[in-house]
Protein backbone atom coordinates (compact mmCIF):
# COMPACT_ATOMS: atom_id res chain seq x y z
CA UNK A 1 0.00 0.00 0.00
CA UNK A 2 1.23 3.38 -0.86
CA UNK A 3 0.37 6.39 1.17
CA UNK A 4 1.16 9.67 -0.40
CA UNK A 5 1.00 13.28 0.67
CA UNK A 6 -0.60 15.63 -1.77
CA UNK A 7 -3.50 17.84 -2.51
CA UNK A 8 -6.85 16.82 -3.83
CA UNK A 9 -6.75 18.75 -7.06
CA UNK A 10 -10.45 18.84 -7.86
CA UNK A 11 -11.43 20.66 -4.68
CA UNK A 12 -8.43 22.86 -4.30
CA UNK A 13 -9.83 24.94 -7.12
CA UNK A 14 -12.11 26.31 -4.44
CA UNK A 15 -9.22 27.43 -2.34
CA UNK A 16 -9.33 31.17 -1.94
CA UNK A 17 -6.41 33.33 -1.00
CA UNK A 18 -2.72 33.23 -1.56
CA UNK A 19 -1.99 32.00 1.95
CA UNK A 20 -3.86 28.75 1.52
CA UNK A 21 -2.44 28.33 -1.94
CA UNK A 22 1.03 28.81 -0.51
CA UNK A 23 0.37 26.17 2.11
CA UNK A 24 -0.94 23.86 -0.60
CA UNK A 25 2.16 24.36 -2.67
CA UNK A 26 4.41 23.64 0.27
CA UNK A 27 2.47 20.54 1.22
CA UNK A 28 2.40 19.36 -2.37
CA UNK A 29 6.13 19.88 -2.78
CA UNK A 30 6.88 17.98 0.41
CA UNK A 31 4.39 15.28 -0.42
CA UNK A 32 5.58 14.83 -3.97
CA UNK A 33 9.06 14.02 -2.76
CA UNK A 34 7.71 11.71 -0.08
CA UNK A 35 5.35 9.95 -2.45
CA UNK A 36 8.24 8.58 -4.42
CA UNK A 37 9.35 6.39 -1.55
CA UNK A 38 7.22 3.56 -0.16
CA UNK A 39 6.01 4.17 3.34
CA UNK A 40 7.78 2.03 5.88
CA UNK A 41 6.11 1.31 9.18
CA UNK A 42 7.64 3.73 11.64
CA UNK A 43 7.52 4.13 15.38
CA UNK A 44 4.83 6.47 16.59
CA UNK A 45 7.28 9.10 17.80
CA UNK A 46 8.86 9.37 14.38
CA UNK A 47 5.47 9.70 12.82
CA UNK A 48 4.80 12.80 14.90
CA UNK A 49 7.65 14.57 13.21
CA UNK A 50 7.29 13.25 9.68
CA UNK A 51 3.70 12.38 8.92
CA UNK A 52 0.23 12.24 10.38
CA UNK A 53 0.18 9.75 13.12
CA UNK A 54 -2.72 7.83 11.79
CA UNK A 55 -1.02 7.32 8.47
CA UNK A 56 2.05 6.09 10.24
CA UNK A 57 0.09 3.93 12.61
CA UNK A 58 -2.00 2.43 9.85
CA UNK A 59 0.10 -0.69 9.42
CA UNK A 60 -0.39 -1.46 13.09
CA UNK A 61 -4.11 -1.76 12.47
CA UNK A 62 -5.62 -4.80 10.81
CA UNK A 63 -4.76 -4.58 7.13
CA UNK A 64 -8.29 -5.19 5.82
CA UNK A 65 -9.68 -2.41 8.02
CA UNK A 66 -7.20 0.16 6.78
CA UNK A 67 -7.84 -0.74 3.17
CA UNK A 68 -11.56 -0.57 3.71
CA UNK A 69 -11.24 2.90 5.16
CA UNK A 70 -8.99 4.21 2.45
CA UNK A 71 -11.05 2.82 -0.40
CA UNK A 72 -14.22 4.43 0.91
CA UNK A 73 -15.48 7.54 -0.78
CA UNK A 74 -16.18 10.52 1.42
CA UNK A 75 -14.75 11.45 4.76
CA UNK A 76 -13.55 8.83 7.22
CA UNK A 77 -15.87 8.62 10.23
CA UNK A 78 -13.11 9.47 12.65
CA UNK A 79 -10.96 12.56 12.29
CA UNK A 80 -7.38 11.54 11.37
CA UNK A 81 -4.79 11.89 14.10
CA UNK A 82 -2.02 14.34 13.35
CA UNK A 83 -0.12 13.71 16.56
CA UNK A 84 -0.33 10.53 18.59
CA UNK A 85 2.44 10.18 21.10
CA UNK A 86 3.18 9.85 24.76
CA UNK A 87 4.91 12.37 26.95
CA UNK A 88 5.96 11.02 30.34
CA UNK A 89 3.72 8.06 29.68
CA UNK A 90 0.64 10.20 29.11
CA UNK A 91 -1.08 9.90 25.72
CA UNK A 92 -1.00 13.09 23.66
CA UNK A 93 -3.26 13.17 20.64
CA UNK A 94 -4.08 15.93 18.22
CA UNK A 95 -6.40 15.32 15.34
CA UNK A 96 -7.26 17.40 12.31
CA UNK A 97 -10.47 18.79 13.77
CA UNK A 98 -8.69 20.16 16.84
CA UNK A 99 -6.62 22.45 14.63
CA UNK A 100 -9.79 24.18 13.46
CA UNK A 101 -11.15 24.20 17.00
CA UNK A 102 -8.07 26.06 18.17
CA UNK A 103 -8.03 28.44 15.19
CA UNK A 104 -11.70 29.32 15.66
CA UNK A 105 -11.26 29.64 19.41
CA UNK A 106 -8.33 32.02 18.97
CA UNK A 107 -10.19 34.09 16.36
CA UNK A 108 -13.26 34.34 18.59
CA UNK A 109 -11.34 35.23 21.70
CA UNK A 110 -9.12 37.81 20.01
CA UNK A 111 -12.03 39.42 18.18
CA UNK A 112 -14.03 39.59 21.42
CA UNK A 113 -11.09 40.99 23.31
CA UNK A 114 -10.35 43.59 20.63
CA UNK A 115 -14.01 44.56 20.36
CA UNK A 116 -14.46 45.07 24.10
CA UNK A 117 -11.03 46.49 24.96
CA UNK A 118 -12.18 50.07 24.77
CA UNK A 119 -15.92 50.11 25.02
CA UNK A 120 -17.60 53.26 23.78
CA UNK A 121 -21.01 54.68 24.53
CA UNK A 122 -21.78 54.76 20.84
CA UNK A 123 -20.67 51.34 19.62
CA UNK A 124 -18.88 50.95 16.32
CA UNK A 125 -17.36 48.13 14.28
CA UNK A 126 -16.49 45.04 16.28
CA UNK A 127 -18.08 46.31 19.46
CA UNK A 128 -21.29 46.93 17.58
CA UNK A 129 -21.23 43.44 16.09
CA UNK A 130 -20.51 41.71 19.42
CA UNK A 131 -23.13 43.79 21.19
CA UNK A 132 -25.65 42.81 18.55
CA UNK A 133 -24.77 39.11 18.90
CA UNK A 134 -24.74 39.07 22.70
CA UNK A 135 -27.85 41.20 23.14
CA UNK A 136 -29.82 39.24 20.55
CA UNK A 137 -28.87 35.93 22.12
CA UNK A 138 -29.56 37.20 25.62
CA UNK A 139 -33.01 38.50 24.73
CA UNK A 140 -33.78 35.36 22.74
CA UNK A 141 -32.78 33.05 25.59
CA UNK A 142 -34.49 35.26 28.14
CA UNK A 143 -37.73 34.80 26.23
CA UNK A 144 -37.34 31.04 26.41
CA UNK A 145 -35.90 30.23 29.81
CA UNK A 146 -36.66 33.37 31.77
CA UNK A 147 -34.60 36.18 33.27
CA UNK A 148 -33.29 34.39 36.35
CA UNK A 149 -32.16 31.24 34.57
CA UNK A 150 -30.60 33.14 31.69
CA UNK A 151 -28.41 35.08 34.13
CA UNK A 152 -27.05 31.81 35.47
CA UNK A 153 -26.66 29.92 32.19
CA UNK A 154 -26.11 32.51 29.48
CA UNK A 155 -22.37 31.99 29.29
CA UNK A 156 -22.87 28.33 28.39
CA UNK A 157 -25.70 28.62 25.86
CA UNK A 158 -24.19 31.65 24.15
CA UNK A 159 -20.87 29.87 23.81
CA UNK A 160 -22.63 26.77 22.51
CA UNK A 161 -24.33 28.78 19.77
CA UNK A 162 -21.44 31.03 18.84
CA UNK A 163 -18.86 28.27 18.95
CA UNK A 164 -20.89 25.72 16.99
CA UNK A 165 -21.91 28.29 14.39
CA UNK A 166 -18.34 29.53 13.99
CA UNK A 167 -16.99 26.00 13.69
CA UNK A 168 -19.64 25.02 11.16
CA UNK A 169 -19.10 28.04 8.94
CA UNK A 170 -15.34 27.98 9.28
CA UNK A 171 -15.41 24.36 8.14
CA UNK A 172 -16.95 25.48 4.87
CA UNK A 173 -13.90 27.51 3.92
CA UNK A 174 -12.37 25.88 0.87
CA UNK A 175 -9.35 23.87 1.87
CA UNK A 176 -10.88 22.34 4.97
CA UNK A 177 -11.13 18.62 4.28
CA UNK A 178 -9.48 18.93 0.88
CA UNK A 179 -5.85 19.36 1.80
CA UNK A 180 -4.17 16.30 3.23
CA UNK A 181 -3.04 12.81 2.54
CA UNK A 182 -4.53 10.15 0.30
CA UNK A 183 -3.86 7.09 -1.81
CA UNK A 184 -3.39 7.53 -5.56
CA UNK A 185 -5.39 5.31 -7.88
CA UNK A 186 -4.01 2.89 -10.44
CA UNK A 187 -3.34 5.76 -12.84
CA UNK A 188 -1.31 7.53 -10.20
CA UNK A 189 -3.86 10.32 -9.72
CA UNK A 190 -4.94 11.37 -6.23
CA UNK A 191 -8.69 11.64 -6.30
CA UNK A 192 -9.58 11.09 -2.68
CA UNK A 193 -8.19 12.47 0.56
CA UNK A 194 -8.35 9.96 3.37
CA UNK A 195 -6.42 12.00 5.94
CA UNK A 196 -7.35 15.69 5.66
CA UNK A 197 -5.10 18.19 7.37
CA UNK A 198 -8.11 20.19 8.53
CA UNK A 199 -11.49 18.77 9.32
CA UNK A 200 -14.70 20.36 10.57
CA UNK A 201 -14.74 19.93 14.34
CA UNK A 202 -18.45 19.18 14.38
CA UNK A 203 -17.82 16.43 11.87
CA UNK A 204 -15.77 14.85 14.65
CA UNK A 205 -17.70 13.05 17.36
CA UNK A 206 -15.14 14.07 20.00
CA UNK A 207 -16.17 17.73 19.78
CA UNK A 208 -19.91 17.19 19.71
CA UNK A 209 -19.74 14.62 22.48
CA UNK A 210 -17.58 16.94 24.56
CA UNK A 211 -20.16 19.72 24.31
CA UNK A 212 -23.04 17.33 25.00
CA UNK A 213 -21.33 15.81 28.03
CA UNK A 214 -20.38 19.25 29.37
CA UNK A 215 -24.00 20.26 29.04
CA UNK A 216 -25.01 17.08 30.86
CA UNK A 217 -22.62 17.94 33.68
CA UNK A 218 -23.75 21.57 33.99
CA UNK A 219 -27.37 20.54 33.65
CA UNK A 220 -26.98 18.38 36.77
CA UNK A 221 -25.13 21.19 38.56
CA UNK A 222 -27.82 23.78 37.75
CA UNK A 223 -30.62 21.37 38.57
CA UNK A 224 -29.10 20.59 41.97
CA UNK A 225 -28.34 24.27 42.65
CA UNK A 226 -31.90 25.35 41.98
CA UNK A 227 -33.89 22.33 43.22
CA UNK A 228 -31.60 20.80 45.82
CA UNK A 229 -31.13 17.04 45.94
CA UNK A 230 -34.60 16.38 47.30
CA UNK A 231 -36.28 18.73 44.85
CA UNK A 232 -34.32 17.19 42.00
CA UNK A 233 -35.46 13.67 42.92
CA UNK A 234 -39.02 14.87 43.50
CA UNK A 235 -38.97 16.53 40.11
CA UNK A 236 -38.06 13.21 38.54
CA UNK A 237 -40.07 10.76 40.62
CA UNK A 238 -42.60 12.84 42.50
CA UNK A 239 -46.30 12.35 41.67
CA UNK A 240 -47.89 15.27 39.82
CA UNK A 241 -51.43 16.40 40.27
CA UNK A 242 -53.64 16.66 43.32
CA UNK A 243 -54.82 13.17 44.16
CA UNK A 244 -55.81 11.53 47.43
CA UNK A 245 -56.22 8.10 48.92
CA UNK A 246 -55.71 5.10 46.69
CA UNK A 247 -55.23 7.25 43.59
CA UNK A 248 -52.34 9.02 45.25
CA UNK A 249 -50.70 5.67 46.01
CA UNK A 250 -51.26 4.60 42.43
CA UNK A 251 -49.82 7.87 41.16
CA UNK A 252 -46.72 7.40 43.31
CA UNK A 253 -46.08 4.03 41.69
CA UNK A 254 -46.86 5.32 38.19
CA UNK A 255 -44.67 8.36 38.51
CA UNK A 256 -41.84 6.31 39.95
CA UNK A 257 -41.76 4.34 36.72
CA UNK A 258 -42.22 7.54 34.73
CA UNK A 259 -39.17 8.85 36.57
CA UNK A 260 -37.19 5.78 35.55
CA UNK A 261 -38.16 6.37 31.93
CA UNK A 262 -37.27 10.03 32.36
CA UNK A 263 -33.81 9.06 33.62
CA UNK A 264 -33.29 6.86 30.57
CA UNK A 265 -34.39 9.76 28.40
CA UNK A 266 -32.02 12.11 30.23
CA UNK A 267 -29.12 9.69 29.90
CA UNK A 268 -29.66 9.49 26.17
CA UNK A 269 -29.72 13.25 25.71
CA UNK A 270 -25.93 13.55 25.30
CA UNK A 271 -26.06 10.77 22.72
CA UNK A 272 -28.84 12.38 20.72
CA UNK A 273 -27.35 15.86 21.00
CA UNK A 274 -23.87 14.79 19.93
CA UNK A 275 -24.92 12.43 17.14
CA UNK A 276 -27.48 14.85 15.73
CA UNK A 277 -24.90 17.59 15.32
CA UNK A 278 -22.18 15.20 14.21
CA UNK A 279 -24.46 13.47 11.71
CA UNK A 280 -25.71 16.65 10.11
CA UNK A 281 -22.30 18.24 9.69
CA UNK A 282 -20.61 15.00 8.67
CA UNK A 283 -23.32 14.39 6.09
CA UNK A 284 -22.96 17.94 4.81
CA UNK A 285 -19.21 17.56 4.33
CA UNK A 286 -19.77 14.31 2.52
CA UNK A 287 -22.42 15.90 0.33
CA UNK A 288 -20.02 18.63 -0.69
CA UNK A 289 -17.32 16.10 -1.48
CA UNK A 290 -19.72 13.89 -3.43
CA UNK A 291 -21.00 16.82 -5.44
CA UNK A 292 -17.47 17.86 -6.23
CA UNK A 293 -16.66 14.34 -7.40
CA UNK A 294 -19.85 14.19 -9.48
CA UNK A 295 -18.94 17.42 -11.22
CA UNK A 296 -15.79 15.88 -12.60
CA UNK A 297 -12.67 17.82 -13.52
CA UNK A 298 -14.60 20.59 -15.32
CA UNK A 299 -17.65 21.19 -13.18
CA UNK A 300 -16.34 20.07 -9.83
CA UNK A 301 -16.30 23.70 -8.72
CA UNK A 302 -19.88 24.37 -9.85
CA UNK A 303 -21.94 21.51 -8.52
CA UNK A 304 -21.25 22.02 -4.79
CA UNK A 305 -22.13 25.73 -4.86
CA UNK A 306 -25.88 25.29 -4.14
CA UNK A 307 -24.97 22.87 -1.39
CA UNK A 308 -22.67 25.45 0.14
CA UNK A 309 -25.72 27.66 0.70
CA UNK A 310 -27.53 24.67 2.13
CA UNK A 311 -24.63 23.96 4.46
CA UNK A 312 -24.57 27.60 5.58
CA UNK A 313 -28.19 27.18 6.57
CA UNK A 314 -27.60 23.77 8.14
CA UNK A 315 -24.68 25.18 10.13
CA UNK A 316 -26.91 27.91 11.55
CA UNK A 317 -29.88 25.65 12.17
CA UNK A 318 -27.80 23.00 13.93
CA UNK A 319 -26.20 25.59 16.19
CA UNK A 320 -29.64 26.95 17.00
CA UNK A 321 -31.09 23.47 17.57
CA UNK A 322 -28.28 22.47 19.91
CA UNK A 323 -28.64 25.67 21.91
CA UNK A 324 -32.44 25.53 22.01
CA UNK A 325 -32.57 21.89 23.04
CA UNK A 326 -30.04 22.35 25.80
CA UNK A 327 -31.86 25.47 26.98
CA UNK A 328 -35.23 23.74 26.98
CA UNK A 329 -33.82 20.68 28.75
CA UNK A 330 -32.50 23.03 31.41
CA UNK A 331 -35.83 24.81 31.68
CA UNK A 332 -37.68 21.52 32.09
CA UNK A 333 -35.76 20.52 35.20
CA UNK A 334 -36.38 23.86 36.88
CA UNK A 335 -39.23 24.30 39.40
CA UNK A 336 -42.66 24.78 37.89
CA UNK A 337 -42.91 28.40 38.96
CA UNK A 338 -39.90 29.07 36.77
CA UNK A 339 -41.99 28.14 33.73
CA UNK A 340 -44.62 30.81 34.25
CA UNK A 341 -43.02 33.29 31.90
CA UNK A 342 -42.81 30.72 29.15
Amino acid sequence: MMTCFSILTRRTRRVIGGGLLGVCALLWAGGAAWAKAPVVPQPATAAVEAAPAEAAAAPAKPEHKAEAVEKEEGLPQGAPLLIDTRIHGEPIQVNSSMLITWIVAIVLIISAQVATRRMKDVPQGGQNFWEWVVESLYNFLQGIIGPSLVRRTFWFFATIFIFILSLNWFSLIPGVGTIGWGVPNEAGALTHITHPLLRGPNADLNMTLAMAMLFFFFWIVWALQVNGVRGFLMHLFGPKGDTKGFMKLLMVVVFFFVGLLEIVSILFRPVSLSFRLFGNIFAGENTLETMTALGGPWFGWLLPIPFYFLELLVGFVQAMVFMLLTAVFTLLIMPEEGHEHH
Binding site: A79, M119, W155, F156, L205, N206, M207, A210, M213
Partner: protein
Protein backbone atom coordinates in the same frame (compact mmCIF):
# COMPACT_ATOMS: atom_id res chain seq x y z
CA UNK B 1 -30.73 -12.52 42.71
CA UNK B 2 -31.02 -13.69 39.14
CA UNK B 3 -31.30 -10.11 37.84
CA UNK B 4 -27.74 -9.20 38.79
CA UNK B 5 -26.03 -11.39 36.17
CA UNK B 6 -28.47 -10.15 33.53
CA UNK B 7 -27.75 -6.54 34.42
CA UNK B 8 -24.02 -7.23 34.53
CA UNK B 9 -24.24 -8.91 31.15
CA UNK B 10 -26.30 -6.03 29.75
CA UNK B 11 -23.87 -3.50 31.25
CA UNK B 12 -20.94 -5.34 29.74
CA UNK B 13 -22.61 -5.42 26.33
CA UNK B 14 -23.43 -1.74 26.60
CA UNK B 15 -19.85 -0.87 27.47
CA UNK B 16 -18.58 -2.99 24.57
CA UNK B 17 -21.03 -1.28 22.28
CA UNK B 18 -19.93 2.15 23.50
CA UNK B 19 -16.28 1.22 23.07
CA UNK B 20 -16.86 -0.08 19.55
CA UNK B 21 -18.84 3.03 18.61
CA UNK B 22 -16.09 5.22 20.00
CA UNK B 23 -13.46 3.36 18.01
CA UNK B 24 -15.56 3.52 14.87
CA UNK B 25 -15.94 7.29 15.15
CA UNK B 26 -12.38 7.94 16.27
CA UNK B 27 -13.39 8.99 19.75
CA UNK B 28 -10.73 8.60 22.40
CA UNK B 29 -10.41 9.83 25.96
CA UNK B 30 -7.51 12.22 25.26
CA UNK B 31 -9.33 13.81 22.31
CA UNK B 32 -12.60 13.97 24.19
CA UNK B 33 -11.00 15.56 27.24
CA UNK B 34 -8.98 18.02 25.19
CA UNK B 35 -12.16 19.11 23.40
CA UNK B 36 -13.88 19.54 26.76
CA UNK B 37 -11.01 21.70 27.97
CA UNK B 38 -10.97 23.68 24.72
CA UNK B 39 -14.68 24.40 25.00
CA UNK B 40 -14.42 25.42 28.65
CA UNK B 41 -11.49 27.73 27.89
CA UNK B 42 -13.42 29.35 25.04
CA UNK B 43 -16.51 29.71 27.22
CA UNK B 44 -14.52 31.18 30.09
CA UNK B 45 -12.64 33.65 27.90
CA UNK B 46 -15.73 34.68 25.95
CA UNK B 47 -17.55 35.19 29.21
CA UNK B 48 -14.67 37.29 30.47
CA UNK B 49 -14.02 39.31 27.32
CA UNK B 50 -17.41 39.43 25.65
CA UNK B 51 -20.49 38.50 27.64
CA UNK B 52 -19.82 40.17 30.97
CA UNK B 53 -18.44 43.48 29.67
CA UNK B 54 -21.08 43.74 26.98
CA UNK B 55 -23.94 42.83 29.31
CA UNK B 56 -22.57 45.31 31.85
CA UNK B 57 -22.42 48.01 29.20
CA UNK B 58 -25.90 47.16 27.98
CA UNK B 59 -27.24 47.28 31.51
CA UNK B 60 -25.47 50.55 32.16
CA UNK B 61 -26.81 51.93 28.88
CA UNK B 62 -30.28 50.70 29.72
CA UNK B 63 -30.13 52.43 33.09
CA UNK B 64 -28.78 55.58 31.46
CA UNK B 65 -31.54 55.55 28.88
CA UNK B 66 -34.11 54.97 31.60
CA UNK B 67 -32.63 57.87 33.59
CA UNK B 68 -32.58 60.03 30.45
CA UNK B 69 -36.18 59.18 29.72
CA UNK B 70 -37.09 59.94 33.30
CA UNK B 71 -35.20 63.23 33.05
CA UNK B 72 -36.88 63.98 29.77
CA UNK B 73 -40.23 63.27 31.38
CA UNK B 74 -39.28 65.45 34.31
CA UNK B 75 -38.16 68.23 31.98
CA UNK B 76 -41.36 67.80 30.02
CA UNK B 77 -43.36 68.11 33.21
CA UNK B 78 -41.33 71.16 34.24
CA UNK B 79 -41.81 72.64 30.79
CA UNK B 80 -45.54 72.02 31.02
CA UNK B 81 -45.55 73.61 34.48
CA UNK B 82 -43.55 76.57 33.19
CA UNK B 83 -45.90 76.85 30.23
CA UNK B 84 -48.89 76.73 32.53
CA UNK B 85 -47.25 79.28 34.80
CA UNK B 86 -46.41 81.48 31.86
CA UNK B 87 -49.97 81.23 30.61
CA UNK B 88 -51.28 81.99 34.06
CA UNK B 89 -48.96 84.98 34.39
CA UNK B 90 -49.99 86.19 30.98
CA UNK B 91 -53.61 85.72 31.85
CA UNK B 92 -53.10 87.56 35.12
CA UNK B 93 -51.23 90.33 33.35
CA UNK B 94 -53.92 90.45 30.73
CA UNK B 95 -56.59 90.62 33.40
CA UNK B 96 -54.64 93.27 35.28
CA UNK B 97 -54.11 95.27 32.15
CA UNK B 98 -57.76 94.92 31.23
CA UNK B 99 -58.69 95.97 34.71
CA UNK B 100 -56.39 98.96 34.51
CA UNK B 101 -57.76 99.85 31.12
CA UNK B 102 -61.28 99.54 32.44
CA UNK B 103 -60.42 101.59 35.45
CA UNK B 104 -58.71 104.16 33.29
CA UNK B 105 -61.65 104.15 30.98
CA UNK B 106 -64.04 104.52 33.89
CA UNK B 107 -61.89 107.24 35.38
CA UNK B 108 -61.67 108.96 32.04
CA UNK B 109 -65.38 108.69 31.59
CA UNK B 110 -65.98 109.98 35.07
CA UNK B 111 -63.56 112.79 34.50
CA UNK B 112 -65.10 113.57 31.17
CA UNK B 113 -68.52 113.62 32.77
CA UNK B 114 -67.22 115.83 35.53
CA UNK B 115 -65.64 118.14 33.05
CA UNK B 116 -68.74 118.08 30.91
CA UNK B 117 -70.91 118.83 33.88
CA UNK B 118 -68.52 121.54 34.92
CA UNK B 119 -68.55 122.92 31.40
CA UNK B 120 -72.31 122.70 31.31
CA UNK B 121 -72.54 124.39 34.67
CA UNK B 122 -70.08 127.00 33.56
CA UNK B 123 -71.95 127.47 30.33
CA UNK B 124 -75.21 127.70 32.21
CA UNK B 125 -73.63 130.22 34.54
CA UNK B 126 -72.38 132.20 31.62
CA UNK B 127 -75.80 131.99 30.01
CA UNK B 128 -77.48 133.01 33.23
CA UNK B 129 -75.09 135.91 33.62
CA UNK B 130 -75.67 136.81 30.01
CA UNK B 131 -79.40 136.63 30.52
CA UNK B 132 -79.10 138.61 33.67
CA UNK B 133 -76.95 141.17 31.86
CA UNK B 134 -79.39 141.20 28.99
CA UNK B 135 -82.26 141.65 31.38
CA UNK B 136 -80.47 144.44 33.17
CA UNK B 137 -79.58 146.05 29.87
CA UNK B 138 -83.14 145.66 28.73
CA UNK B 139 -84.43 147.16 31.96
CA UNK B 140 -81.90 149.89 31.67
CA UNK B 141 -82.84 150.51 28.06
CA UNK B 142 -86.50 150.33 28.93
CA UNK B 143 -85.87 152.87 31.69
CA UNK B 144 -84.03 155.07 29.32
CA UNK B 145 -86.69 154.53 26.73
CA UNK B 146 -89.37 155.45 29.19
CA UNK B 147 -87.51 158.45 30.25
CA UNK B 148 -86.90 159.47 26.65
CA UNK B 149 -90.51 158.80 25.65
CA UNK B 150 -91.72 160.74 28.71
CA UNK B 151 -89.47 163.55 27.81
CA UNK B 152 -90.66 163.42 24.22
CA UNK B 153 -94.26 163.24 25.35
CA UNK B 154 -93.73 166.18 27.62
CA UNK B 155 -91.87 168.11 24.92
CA UNK B 156 -94.42 167.21 22.28
CA UNK B 157 -97.32 168.00 24.57
CA UNK B 158 -95.74 171.30 25.48
CA UNK B 159 -95.18 172.19 21.87
CA UNK B 160 -98.62 171.05 20.77
CA UNK B 161 -100.44 172.82 23.53
CA UNK B 162 -98.20 175.82 23.51
CA UNK B 163 -98.06 176.13 27.16
CA UNK B 164 -95.49 175.61 29.62
CA UNK B 165 -96.13 172.47 31.50
CA UNK B 166 -95.76 172.38 35.19
CA UNK B 167 -93.59 170.03 37.03
CA UNK B 168 -96.71 168.27 38.12
CA UNK B 169 -97.90 167.91 34.53
CA UNK B 170 -94.61 166.77 33.35
CA UNK B 171 -94.49 164.16 36.10
CA UNK B 172 -98.03 163.01 35.29
CA UNK B 173 -97.42 162.82 31.55
CA UNK B 174 -94.15 160.93 32.09
CA UNK B 175 -95.86 158.40 34.33
CA UNK B 176 -98.71 157.90 31.85
CA UNK B 177 -96.26 157.48 28.97
CA UNK B 178 -94.22 155.01 31.05
CA UNK B 179 -97.37 153.01 31.85
CA UNK B 180 -98.32 152.96 28.18
CA UNK B 181 -94.85 151.69 27.20
CA UNK B 182 -94.82 149.08 29.94
CA UNK B 183 -98.22 147.79 28.77
Amino acid sequence: MFIAPILADAGGSLLDSIRQTGEQFGSTWPLFLSNCVSFLIVAWLLNRFAYRPILDVLEERRQRIAASLENAEKIKRQLADAEAQRTRILQDADADAQKMIDEARTAAQAQAQTREQAAIAEAEGIIAQAREAIALERDRMLGELRREVARLVVDTTGKVTGKILTVEDQRRLSEEAAREIAA
